[in-house]
């Protein structure tokens, strides 16, 4: 995944999309927005939409004593809730603090003590959240798998692409295969100087960030007014 800091508009849609996609309990948020401020006379604030980095050398996988946290062939790191015993080694091991232990008090309902909504009741059946286990972003593995089974391509076809990526109005999130040199994510990293957060942690994250100025390109003339998606050119230098 590539996150474009110059495009993100701090709208929080990615957080909400993940919550509804996975019927997240009230106290749980898989992605987060983190602000980085620089003061001075030209203050800037960068907002990082962060989530589990699906690190290639994932310390959480290494420390998990039960094998609940594991990595798939495609690189997605996930937690088998049936195996997780809640030891929380992984929570400590993740240097990016992207894991949350689902304690009883985090499993609050939307309206605790008042009502369990129909949506929450449906969620209990449709998506497992085991109290006493650890949770995190799984790159919408379920969605990807359903899409792949239909022959769709993650990052291109919506049904095989994470919910947060789909809903982002700013196209700040791009999904795809890092191992494929021609994929959009590989191109962005190459051409826009993609960087990983805290490379010094040596975990080789699968999420890269890019940044730049808005509007440093010549305005585009559109040849064909009837193109469904207007032809776009890259932004930034």
């Amino acid at each position: 995944m590539v996150v474009d800091l110059s495009s993100c508009v701090r709208c929080y849609a990615c957080l909400a999309a993940c919550r509804i996609e996975h019927f997240l309990p009230m106290g749980m948020s898989w992605p987060r927005l983190i602000e980085l401020e620089t003061g001075g006379d030209n203050p800037t604030v960068s907002t990082y939409s962060v989530r589990c980095n699906q690190c290639k050398d994932a310390p959480c996988v290494e420390v998990c004593p039960t094998g609940a946290t594991q990595q798939r062939g495609d690189g997605i790191v996930w937690v088998d809730q049936n195996k997780c015993v809640g030891c929380r080694y992984c929570v400590v091991a993740c240097p990016y603090q992207n894991r949350t232990f689902l304690s009883k008090d985090k499993d609050k309902g939307f309206f605790p003590g008042i009502v369990q909504t129909d949506f929450e009741k449906a969620g209990k059946k449709l998506y497992q959240h085991q109290i006493g286990t650890t949770e995190k972003c799984n790159f919408c593995a379920e969605r990807i798998d359903v899409g792949l089974a239909k022959g769709l391509k993650p990052g291109i076809d919506r049904e095989a692409t994470p919910a947060c990526v789909n809903t982002c109005p700013a196209k700040a999130l791009t999904f795809g295969d890092l191992d494929e040199p021609d994929s959009e994510v590989s191109r962005l990293i190459r051409e826009k100087g993609g960087f990983q957060l805290h490379p010094e942690y040596n975990t080789d994250p699968s999420i890269y960030f890019i940044d730049g100025k808005i509007g440093q390109v010549e305005a585009t003339k559109i040849e064909d007014r009837h193109q469904k998606e207007p032809h776009t050119v890259g932004v930034g230098d």
Partner: protein
């Protein structure tokens, strides 16, 4: 497994219009996401997605209620719809018989697709005393664009239908990127940025776009007209204006030229706290890299100099020829179903209705078709109120009007207040009759986008809870009792009626979901065609785009734009500024709330629990305030507290308070209304001469730590 279906509909959790796909299984919504086939290409924001917690909310109003105890005491009795409607009918008829139809006011919140009903209802019963937040949000723009385009709408061409995208964009006091304000969708604006060469952001504080823009002008709140006039000064004096457009299609260029001479960049720099060289740079970029467009934010309309500020900006568009050219500002043509306004303009305002409009003698632009809210409040306080009965739908005037303390006292003097809402809140608490309203996921209705080039369908996905009704049904049923000739057998017939020009029924449209005039079907350069005027020209008395407005001149206003200091500032009220040394602006919005809505939606509230005021760390230090402290903000009208966020991205000396906040979870009748709502601080005595807009976003205040709070 039961029945599972995916329903296509349209979100209006904000001004709205995102296409939504709603998955319903056994009558329960289990998923919401954007509809990729809609013009918003499958994106939705946190508010729209969190609707799932809205419709299932335990605090929804379920039944009509009647007040039992004293006003605001919180004692209610459930009544039937029949009883509610009977009472409303009887009260309105009595008031009409005794005081005339103008004694009835109909109020609404933001115009989100139901305003056609509000206006039609009011006109059908013979009153034009419609109370809307329009005069501080969007109406001044429409009215002043109307002096250019006749029907009052000019929007940025983000769509490239004419073959070009804007090369220079100015985002002026606006955060369209997080607001989809006025139905100009964030996603269109953001997509258009891929084609932009220069993005100029005019905002006293850093936004997601400002620090990555070509130029960011951190302006002193309330001085925008000075900036616009100085930009025109540079553009004219450096010969950068669009000669062809100015010579052939504008009126009064020489007068404008003369007027702007006093607004040199140096003088404007003093007024605005900007650098003269930045003003020059902005002017040159906008004049040289065309086409360009300006996105105007409603902060400019929440100031008592709003009319002339907007006139200045419109003249800036005029001298650069950024009208009706592809990639500039365009008046979109509606689809064949016509303008949604036809549904109420077909009932004209009679001279008698016009005479009865509260505030019409003073605010000739703002109170021509609707009442002036602040005058209504003053009259209620003074005991000479024209308004006796108030029918309030879809908004809480008690929150958004200036000077909350006065507003609360005034509303108590009403003879009768009916309020329709989804939840109990400060406005509902003081009503005599309370009607339960439905959410967009629960209604069949037509949604119009402000840019007017399309309409969209809201398709009911689930039934409203209890006995809640959609707004259109409420108006239709009350309307049938008071003015049956204008109302319909049922809602579906009413929807059919609104679509008939397009040869569609509601059922056809409901399947179609979007009905738009886009792409090649839009015509640019309308002034070169017979569209507005036979033989070409603008729909103005002179047939030209009036830089010098003959219409305003006839109404007794200055036909040329000028800058005026805000009613309170270190310049206009230096003595007051000694006690209240900081600039107060109350326009802070968060992307997950919409005006006064959604503080009771758990997911959204989790993003920011308490109302936040932004203040520069250096300023905060001066007043002993640290990040996260609760701080008092005080103006001559009162004081509120908000949580301080020390933010290097805001101008020193400016306090930006979160707007329209209350605490739904706190006890009634006020639900914490006086605790943090910045309208406790705002001023309803000083209003724009044209529109009546009060100073809300440029005032004076002082701040200090709230010692009693952690």
């Amino acid at each position: 497994m039961g029945e599972k279906k995916i329903i296509k509909t349209t979100c209006k959790s904000c001004h709205g219009g995102c296409g939504a796909l709603v998955t319903v299984e056994d009558g329960v919504i289990i998923h919401i996401e954007g509809n990729p086939e809609s013009p918003t290409r499958g994106t939705m924001c946190s508010k729209g997605l969190s609707s799932i917690q809205h419709i299932n909310h335990p605090d929804r109003l379920l039944y009509p209620l009647k007040r039992m105890g004293k006003r605001g005491e919180g004692k209610w009795e459930r009544i039937s719809w029949d009883e509610a409607l009977d009472t409303i009918e009887q009260k309105m008829k009595e008031s009409i018989a005794k005081h005339g139809a103008s004694s009835i006011a109909v109020s609404q919140g933001t115009g989100r697709g139901y305003n056609e009903y509000t206006h039609r209802f009011a006109r059908s019963i013979g009153t034009a005393n419609i109370i809307t937040p329009g005069y501080i949000c969007h109406s001044p723009r429409l009215g002043l664009y109307g002096l250019v385009t006749g029907y009052g709408r000019l929007y940025c061409d983000y769509h490239g239908w004419g073959g070009e995208f804007p090369k220079t964009q100015i985002s002026w006091a606006k955060q369209l990127e997080i607001s989809s304000a006025d139905g100009e969708m964030a996603v269109w604006f953001l997509d258009s940025l891929k084609h932009v060469k220069n993005l100029i952001v005019i905002d006293p504080r850093e936004t997601a776009l400002s620090s990555r823009a070509t130029l960011w002008l951190q302006i002193r709140p309330g001085t925008d007209a000075a900036l616009a006039l100085a930009m025109i000064n540079v553009i004219i004096n450096e010969g950068l204006y669009d000669r062809d457009f100015v010579e052939n299609w504008t009126y009064g260029f020489e007068n404008l030229k003369e007027r702007v001479q006093e607004y040199t960049p140096e003088r404007a720099a003093e007024i605005t706290w900007l650098k003269a060289e930045d003003i020059r740079k902005a002017a040159r970029l906008f004049a040289e890299d065309t086409p360009g467009c300006i996105q105007i934010g409603s902060s400019l309309e929440r100031q008592a100099n709003c009319g002339q500020t907007l006139r200045s900006i419109i003249c800036l568009l005029g001298v650069t020829g950024n009208i009706e050219r592809p990639g500039s500002m365009v008046a979109w043509m509606p689809p064949d179903t016509g303008l949604r306004e036809d549904f109420f303009t077909e009932i004209p305002i009679t001279p008698e209705m016009r005479k009865g409009i509260v505030g019409s003698d003073e605010y000739k632009m703002g109170a021509a078709r609707t009442a002036h809210s602040d005058t209504v409040i003053k009259q209620l306080l003074n005991g000479n109120s024209v308004i006796k009965v108030w029918f309030s739908v879809g908004g809480q005037q008690i929150l958004h009007l200036a000077n909350t303390t006065e507003v609360i006292r005034a509303l108590k003097n009403l003879e009768f207040l009916v309020h329709a809402d989804q939840f109990m809140g400060p406005m509902a608490e003081i009503a005599d009759i309370l009607l339960p309203a439905a959410h967009w996921l629960e209604i069949d209705d037509i949604y119009d986008m402000h840019p007017r080039f399309m309409i969209e369908a809201h398709n009911r996905t689930v039934n409203p809870p209890g006995e809640a009704w959609q707004d259109s049904k409420i108006f239709n049923e009350v309307g049938k009792r008071l003015a049956p000739q204008y109302w319909f057998e049922n809602v579906e017939k009413m929807l059919d009626y609104q679509l008939k020009k397009g040869n569609m029924t509601w059922k056809d449209f409901s399947k179609k979901v979007v009905h738009a005039r886009m792409g090649k079907d839009q015509i640019y350069y309308k002034y070169k065609t017979d569209y507005w005027r036979k033989g070409g020209g603008f729909p103005t008395p002179t047939g030209k785009m009036e830089l010098y407005s003959t219409v305003l001149e006839d109404l007794g206003y200055d036909p040329l734009p000028y800058f005026q200091e805000p009613g309170e500032s270190s310049v206009s009220t230096p003595d007051l500024a000694k006690e209240f040394p900081l600039v107060l602006t109350t326009g802070y919005r968060q992307p997950f709330y919409f005006l006064s809505q959604y503080r009771n939606i758990p997911w959204l509230r989790s993003f920011q629990k308490d109302p936040v005021m932004q203040i520069h760390p250096d300023t905060a230090k001066q007043y002993g305030i640290e990040d996260g402290d609760w701080a008092w903000i005080e103006s001559p009208r009162g004081r509120i507290k908000q949580k301080a966020r020390l933010f290097p991205g805001i101008l020193r000396g400016v306090v930006m308070a979160t707007a329209n906040c209350f605490y739904p979870e706190e006890p009634g009748p006020l639900h914490g209304l006086l605790k943090s709502n910045p309208n406790v601080l705002t001023n309803n005595n000083h209003c724009d001469p044209m529109y009546g807009s009060p100073d809300l976003t440029a005032l004076l205040c002082k701040v200090y730590k709230a010692e009693d709070e952690k």
